[in-house]
Symmetry: C2
Subunit: 125 residues, 2 copies
DNA sequence: CTATTTAGATTACATTTGTAATCGATATTA
DNA sequence: TAATATCGATTACAAATGTAATCTAAATAG
């Protein structure tokens, strides 16, 4: 498990989110699920699915005439990979510097902060 | 202030970090500062500076024969913009979900957690 | 003053990404 | 069965990105 996660482009992430929500799904089901979330032609969505297949981020079942697609990586695995490269690129690699900025900016509500405190405490002890 | 920050590509971020560290700088100074950090030919670095100029992320002073370059946006401004789009794309838009994952993964040291607690406390009260 | 180096301007070229349309085979409908 | 709708495969095409090289004018070294 856990081979290097391939790069997932921005629009491809939208597709992945749909598949993580529920899979396997046909291309048409993905199209429906994207109603209101993204404004792409069905052909575009199909292209994105094809690219994700080519990248081996999405698998396909060809048993039926109409293919079904499913993720080959867990969402949190991909999130971690993205987060890591994001933090490295933007914040010198540490979550803490990002967090410092958010806290200073008051980007967290009192409720958020309390929840975070609780999570920290639960973990620490 | 605070016009929409243009997109800054991954390799362009390396250049920006150098300029935020210290500016204005000539292209050659940027090249030197990148020694060991990136493995680009001087021409490549020059191209990246040109693109950043075209995007209006970097300004240039042409008074001297050898130009000097400087950032047109503050680092934290760009960080916030990137963070926002990153969180939206990957974690549904909230820092908290990202944090939850990191805490669960034990990606934060005890020391980190203590520092975060202190920051939170200072902010909260 | 001529040859060479250097800096900026212009051009190059493959890959990735965004956003589809067309083509061809099969299934479905009339 | 003939016309049509549908799905997958293939092709399209511009912008952004990664990664430079060439061209040209000016400065500097001999």
């Amino acid at each position: 498990m856990a081979k290097e996660v391939p790069n997932i482009a921005e629009s491809e992430w939208e597709i992945m989110k749909i598949l993580w929500e529920n899979s396997p799904r046909t291309a048409n089901e993905v199209v429906s699920a994207l109603q209101g979330k993204a404004d792409w032609k069905p052909k575009t969505i199909r292209t994105l699915l094809d690219r994700l297949m080519k990248k081996k981020v999405v698998g396909v079942n060809k048993e039926q005439r109409v293919y079904t697609f499913y993720p080959l990586y867990a969402e949190d695995e991909c999130q971690r990979a993205e987060a890591k490269s994001f933090l490295k690129r933007i914040y010198g690699g540490t979550l803490k510097s990002m967090l410092v900025q958010f806290i200073e900016d008051d980007a967290l509500s009192e409720k958020d902060m309390n929840e975070i405190r609780q999570m920290l405490d639960k973990k620490s002890k």
